[in-house]
């Protein structure tokens, strides 16, 4: 990590618990308070992190590949030759625990640290905004989330990346395909979300 991001994180870890003393109540719903840090600073630091991963790992930031690799590993457990013969696993991304998988594992841990230091652990199954609109059924939320995940992964593989791979890494490299994908993500997402919440 860059010295700057280490210093900023350390500063955040000292400042944020202190600000909790200011909060009117420790029971503020984290979902209603938006970002803990300035999104411009966060974005800028993610840009710096991209520079770091390019230099030290010769890899762009990306997330969707990790899930594809793990799915491949599971597929190999069940049907080895069949999985290995599939075009995607044979020619593109071999099923293995690599840098990309470790990145996503790291994301979980890092986000936990961020939420914990900021008093923003949600520890819940149903987002209030979802429940308000679609009710308290957990199986509905989980079913829709599963379906959404499946569509996202299929779409990401077809497009060649997700909001991190295309939206950040590809867009900052000025790849035309990444900008097309990014626009597609948001056009599709906005249309679907507005249908879900406004009709």
């Amino acid at each position: 990590m860059s010295t700057r991001s280490v210093l900023l994180q350390a500063a955040g870890m000292i400042v944020l618990p202190a600000t909790r003393v200011w909060a009117q109540s420790d029971a503020i719903d984290p979902g209603t308070t938006g970002p803990a840090w300035s999104p411009y600073v966060v974005g800028g630091l993610i840009g710096v992190l991209s520079m770091v991963t390019f230099y030290f790992s010769d890899k762009p930031l990306g997330a969707s590949t990790a899930y594809a690799r793990v799915a491949g590993l599971l597929g190999q457990l069940v049907a080895r030759r069949h999985t290995d013969a599939l075009h995607f696993y044979a020619e593109k991304k071999a099923p293995k625990i690599g840098w990309e998988v470790m990145l996503v594992v790291g994301i979980v841990a890092g986000a936990f640290l961020g939420a914990w230091t900021g008093g923003e652990i949600t520890a819940r199954w149903l987002p209030p905004m979802w429940a308000e609109r679609f009710g308290q059924s957990l199986s509905l939320r989980l079913g829709v989330a599963f379906l959404g995940g499946a569509l996202m992964a299929f779409g990401a593989r077809m497009a060649g990346g997700c909001t991190s791979g295309h939206g950040i890494s590809g867009a900052l490299q000025l790849s035309v395909g990444s900008w097309i994908a990014l626009i597609g993500f948001f056009v599709g997402g906005m249309a679907a979300a507005m249908l879900m919440f406004y009709t």
Partner: protein, 202 residues
């Protein structure tokens, strides 16, 4: 104006890094550390939260756009500067008009349903949004489904508008040295408009 097309050539996207000698264990550790930094930043930026992510898709909350565009601004300048100095290789995914568009739209629909994307699902899980587990399982299922269809897709959809590694500057016929500052200016302008005219960050 278009670069030489890479259509039809098998692309193994796992080349060994050209940087320090490849040591699997150290790269796995670096991946973990970089991931932790990424997850920490995503959470602090608010994008591990259901309300912020759906808020973007409903055009109520522009945090996601601010984070992405700020990352693009800094990363573009930094990485192209390092590239010009011979310090890094680029990793540009192929431009395929058909696949990028169709895949993008499908992703978007899934995004609205799930609310957490591949990266932010992991961040959301770390924050304690347990419903992200269902998204993770769905993404693994969807990835495998794609793998089943990947042979057919490679022979059909991937061929529609395959332009290989194409960047905006080449596509517009401009030199990189001119385009990068211009693009930086455009991104800053968009951020200024979003901040002052639409959704000011407190």
């Amino acid at each position: 104006m278009d670069q030489q097309s890479n259509a039809g050539k098998p692309t193994n996207q796992d080349p060994a890094p050209a940087g320090p000698p490849e040591n699997r264990a150290s790269q796995l550790l670096l991946g973990l550390i970089f991931g932790m930094a990424f997850g920490f930043l995503l959470q602090k930026g608010g994008v591990a939260k259901y309300e912020v992510l759906i808020g973007m898709l409903l055009l109520r909350d522009f945090t996601v756009m601010k984070v992405i565009l700020s990352a693009v601004l800094v990363g573009m300048i930094g990485i192209y500067a390092m590239h010009a100095a011979g310090l890094v290789k680029l990793h540009i995914k192929p431009t395929r008009y058909g696949a990028n568009t169709l895949g993008g739209l499908l992703f978007g629909i899934g995004f609205a349903l799930a609310a957490y994307c591949p990266g932010t699902s992991a961040a959301a899980l770390g924050q304690g949004n347990y419903d992200a587990v269902a998204v993770v399982l769905g993404m693994m299922a969807g990835s495998y489904l794609f793998a089943e269809a990947s042979g057919w897709i490679a022979r059909t959809i991937n061929r529609w508008g395959d332009r290989g590694e194409l960047t905006l500057d080449r596509w517009l016929g401009m030199s990189r040295a001119v385009f990068v500052p211009l693009m930086a200016l455009v991104v800053v302008l968009v951020l200024v408009v979003v901040h002052f005219a639409i959704d000011a960050t407190p």
